[in-house]
């Protein structure tokens, strides 16, 4: 199975190679899509995990014991298509290819599957039509 999570690391975790243990001890295939670390503060990681169900369960249990907050992420980037003028400015900052211009009709194409939640498009859209919605419960 493949799932995405946001991991929030409390400051006291900063010395531990937690992602390394997730991979080594729990057999999780971890793809880091985004990482933010503020010195002396929290760290935030957006990961995509490919794993067997049992491994994933154990891995999440390990994170809980390490006081890492795990947000399962079925997050949606929502584009208000009705208001879109198809200028293409959002595509300038989209590297995952989720936002692309159809170069025949010059319409904006949005493929949520490819989105890595970098959020750059939210600020690039001059009409402010892109919003990121986090759907999911806070899971310990």
């Amino acid at each position: 199975m493949k799932e995405r999570f946001i991991l929030n690391f409390p400051p006291e975790c900063s010395g531990k190679p937690i992602t390394y243990y997730l991979i080594k001890n729990y057999n999780l295939e971890v793809n880091i899509l985004r990482a933010e670390i503020t010195a002396g503060k929290e760290g935030r990681l957006l990961i995509e995990v490919t794993a067997e169900e049992e491994d994933l369960k154990n891995g999440l249990h390990y994170l809980k014991n390490e006081n890492v907050l795990v947000y399962p992420l079925s997050r949606e980037l929502i584009l208000n298509v009705d208001e879109c003028v198809h200028c293409g400015l959002c595509t300038a900052v989209c590297f995952s290819g989720a936002l692309e211009m159809d170069r025949i009709n010059w319409e904006l194409l949005f493929n949520p599957e490819k989105c890595v939640a970098c959020e750059l498009c939210i600020r690039a859209c001059p009409l402010r039509l892109i919003t990121l919605h986090f759907v999911g419960d806070l899971e310990a």
């Binding site: 003028v85 198809h86 300038a92 170069r103 009409l127």
Partner: protein, 386 residues
């Protein structure tokens, strides 16, 4: 036999519903298939269009007098300052003016709200005089309540524009969008071969008095645009390579549509206004048919480095390459993205074509042409002022 058609002849055909009208994209196909001469014979008018962010835009408004009257010296519309130095109840609100309370709301949004028919809060203050005893006013206006609401855009429809990239290791936030570090992307304006003034590079048919599509209604070219530059170097096709001619446009805001007038926020740059513009090019002769047959591969612009002061030119690129999704510069492939909407511009060109076909829109011969020569001056800071 040489082909010559006058404005009057073309208008007669429009009135009879007989005019042959094609969009700029359609005519290029015809010119390729049957040649320029046949195209000149067959086609009467070609519609060109653009839909882009045009910062030098604004609205001229007259509120009417209240009782007792006020001479408005400070004016705000939805919290956005408007000009207070125009008689008592006239004002001009610029698209890029920013609200005093919301950095993502500005003059462009006020204009879009007025076009949409929404209510807008007016606040004004003035000096109390015998003529104007009222010192302050707060009320609500909309396009129905205003005497005049006219879009008056000092610089629109750039003939060509520089494409932008960024060589530095920091993201730069510009009116050309977010430019990522290390040539991470490039953005370009104008609709290339569909763009109005690239289809009439010598401005033979566009001048003062030209009737146009502006923001969903009919408008006019009233002057050359500011920063009008007829001296930009041209390529062998006669196309200016880089920002050239511009137009000052005017039209009745009350008859416009939010489909073609949209406020824009450029991250860490400011507010601008997307304006939909369509300009009809009459095919007076073979030369005009040749002009409108220009293709994206014939139109070049400069790619400039917006990460460096002065935005130095780093390459020349064609619109064919820009529209392909990537350009190659010194062995480096840079992803490209538009910032003018081809999608919307095509709608504009199509609507204008239909207006002409239905006889609702006549073409107009310019009352006066634009300067053929001139220098685009820089602002110098004089030694004694430093």
């Amino acid at each position: 036999m040489t082909i010559k058609k006058s404005y009057d002849e073309i208008n007669e055909r429009i009135k009879k519903g007989e005019a042959v009208v094609l969009t700029a994209e359609e005519v290029k196909g015809m010119a390729r298939d049957v040649g320029v001469k046949e195209t000149a014979k067959k086609v009467d008018v070609v519609t060109t269009a653009t839909f882009g962010a045009m910062c030098s835009s604004g609205a001229l408004i007259n509120f009417g007098h209240a009782d007792p009257p006020i001479k408005m010296a400070k004016v705000w519309l939805n919290g956005v300052p408007a000009y207070g130095g125009l008689a008592a109840v006239d004002t001009y609100i610029g698209a890029t003016e920013v609200s005093e309370v919301d950095s993502e709301y500005g003059g462009a949004h006020v204009i879009e709200d007025l076009v949409s028919g929404k209510d807008v809060k007016l606040r004004a203050m003035g000096r109390v005089t015998d003529c104007y005893p009222r010192g302050e006013i707060e009320t609500t206006v909309n396009k129905e309540s205003l005497n005049e609401a006219v879009l008056l855009n000092p610089r629109n429809a750039y003939q060509n524009y520089a494409a932008a990239t960024n060589s530095t290791d920091k993201t730069v936030y510009t009116y050309m969008g977010i430019l990522l570090p290390n040539f991470g992307n490039a953005t370009y304006a104008t609709t290339g071969e569909l763009s109005p003034l690239l289809n009439d590079p010598e401005l033979r048919t566009v001048g003062i008095g030209t009737r146009i599509f502006l923001g969903g209604g009919q408008g006019f070219v009233v002057w050359n645009g500011t920063q009008f530059n007829p001296s930009v170097p041209r390529n062998e096709k006669g196309i200016p390579v880089g920002p050239g001619a511009t137009l000052c446009l005017m039209g009745d805001l009350k008859k416009m549509s939010p489909e073609f007038i949209r406020a824009a926020v450029f991250e860490r740059y400011g507010i601008s206004l997307f304006v939909g513009i369509g300009i009809p090019i009459p095919i007076l002769d073979e030369e005009m048919a040749r002009c409108v047959s220009v293709r994206d591969e014939d139109i070049e612009t400069v790619l400039c480095d917006y990460g460096v002061p002065g935005h130095p030119e780093i390459a020349k690129v064609t619109y064919r390459d820009l529209k392909s999704g990537e350009v190659e510069v010194e062995g480096r492939v840079i992803r490209t993205s538009p910032l003018s909407s081809m999608y919307k511009a095509r709608i504009v060109a199509k609507i204008l074509k239909e207006w002409i076909q239905r006889g609702e829109f006549l073409i107009s011969e310019p009352v006066q042409g634009f300067p053929k020569e001139g220098v685009f001056k820089k602002l110098c800071v004089r030694k004694e002022d430093r």
